[in-house]
Symmetry: C2
Subunit: 345 residues, 2 copies
């Protein structure tokens, strides 16, 4: 049997109350006594029974998720994952609320953060837009002792506790490497379609992609990046124009959302087998395009993992516990049509 608080009390020759005071660092214990207890804990290898502890305190964590609105499939999937977590919340002793804000709107986001602040939750998860007013609002949260995790897109300098998302520079580099190798000696320029340079994840992907292309495939012409605002209709127009202007277009890297538009434009031009298309995020549409061959590679971040990691981290931070960063790393999934997971219901 694993040791309990009683065993520690016996081993240390103190009372249960004192052990409790040490374990939950309550005041009123001499440092000599504290040492005795801590030694007993170490020699017995005591670990707190988390289940029993949670049962006893019966506390619950209130968390707020701030997510962008709009019809971006990935974000809707993310929201679905948050709602799934809400469904389990009684079992996890969490109370989760969602705040929805317009995409790419720093002002609205800063307001939402302030609103979250007013509600005084234990923690906040936010898909960040990289702007000073947002940074300030997040800083204020932190100064008030509220845990903050950035989700999907980071916000350095905001003192956020943790970033739950992928390494977007690595993602961009990976896309660049695959693009370069897939194209081989085939001639023609490569286009990049982003959502908006206002969000850090897009900027970082671009940086990684351009870095690898310039470094390892320096003969390949890179067209200037166009911004599609993660909007399918706009992306379709932009990509259509690109294809028209560059009949020899060899590849497209779409590092944001709005892939419906990308697919529509490429297929309308009848160039689905000629253009190497690399895009982000597995959605019903992008999955279909990968299977049909219009998209060649999908880079993906698992929204479910990100949400669950964010919740774990927020709970830990709210308790003042350390987070094992390595365990919370979100990996970049690379999907070809051959390793696509079975579709889920």
């Amino acid at each position: 049997m694993r040791p309990t608080v009683h065993d520690i009390a016996a081993e240390a020759g103190v009372s249960l109350a004192t052990v409790d005071r040490v374990l939950n660092n309550r005041p009123g214990v001499r440092s000599v006594t504290r040492d005795k207890v801590e030694r007993a804990i170490a020699t017995l290898g005591y670990v707190r029974d988390v289940a029993a502890a949670n049962l006893a305190k019966g506390r619950s964590y209130s968390l707020i998720f701030i997510l962008p609105a709009g019809e971006n499939s990935f974000m809707r999937g993310l929201e679905a994952e948050v709602r799934a977590a809400m469904a389990h919340s009684p079992a996890e002793r969490t109370e989760i609320a969602i705040l929805s804000v317009p995409a790419f709107d720093a002002r609205a986001l800063a307001d939402a953060v302030a609103e979250a602040h007013r509600r005084r939750p234990a923690g906040v998860a936010v898909v960040a837009v990289d702007a000073p007013e947002v940074t300030q609002a997040v800083k204020r949260l932190r100064e008030d002792g509220i845990a903050v995790v950035t989700l999907v897109s980071d916000l350095p300098g905001s003192m956020r506790d943790h970033f739950a998302g992928v390494d977007n520079i690595a993602a961009g580099r990976t896309a660049g490497n695959l693009m370069g190798r897939f194209l081989g000696d085939r001639p023609g320029p490569v286009a990049v379609v982003a959502g908006s340079m206002l969000v850090r994840d897009h900027r970082e992907r671009l940086e990684g992609f351009q870095g690898v292309m310039r470094q390892c495939f320096e003969t390949r012409l890179l067209l200037p990046v166009v911004e599609g605002q993660d909007d399918a209709a706009l992306v379709e127009k932009l990509v259509g124009a690109l294809i028209e202007r560059h009949p020899d277009l060899a590849g497209i890297y779409s590092l944001g959302a709005g892939n419906r538009g990308l697919v529509a434009a490429v297929e309308k031009a009848g160039r689905e087998m000629k253009i190497c298309a690399i895009a982000h995020e597995l959605t019903p549409h992008s999955r279909a395009a990968l299977l049909s061959g219009t998209i060649d590679v999908l880079l993906n971040q698992d929204a479910g993992h990100e949400v669950r990691s964010a919740i774990r981290v927020l709970k830990a931070k709210a308790d003042g516990l350390a987070v094992i960063e390595a365990q919370e790393r979100i990996r970049i999934d690379i999907f070809l049509k051959d390793n696509l997971p079975i579709e889920q219901a």
Copy 2:
């Protein structure tokens, strides 16, 4: 507050004892009463507080992991993950033991399974060798009500409860797709190095790889597969011979272990930049080779995920609970040098 057993008793108009009888299906409840209670459970949306339940029963699960011995880095990593799980075992109410057996030895493995059987654990996880005596031994475990999960390599027809590993056919197809695309129009044949056709995961990877190569890259010559027994020295010899016999060798798919040998042979021949090498499993050696460029792609299965999934499933099965298969799927990681995770301590 979420409802408790007391609330159910009140709602159903029965005593706590009766609720307990229904919840833990103990005998001695009329079906009318049972229905009443079940209706109360449904209307209140009661869910058992697992933490409290575990605390109350104070049960612990004894599990046995049967792993191959030898210096295969992946298997050693797997064992390290099991030991890591053992370290947390007090908190998880599990007692894990490891049985080590010679690799690719069906007879020894069947004996080990029988030994595990004798110890009457709640569950067994086994890296399977696909042979009739192993299948039989596993069947006997299952007939005795012991939960069984196959790990890394599956054993269909053994009535195992679950397979904790990747879809190896998809892994092989992915390797094939990448090999075909990376080579493009470059001439030269492609070689395949396996560990042993005795284990199902290697057979399946081969099947997937050959399938894609024949189907999508039909002009590419595929050399007959050679078996390196996951032994670095043997692999080095075999690959060295292959390179010598086929000076125009364009690619090598190493679907088993022993990558140290692969790397050594390719580098000795000075062909690290000419041969496209795709291998499996991220280890210190393969990581170095990926970074240096000798290996172009690494397919990986996360040993930690597999072990933790196996433990979750074994515990669930031991309790007679259902497993959400989709949640336990192990994904195939694809690593290029650009998306390699930071090295861990």
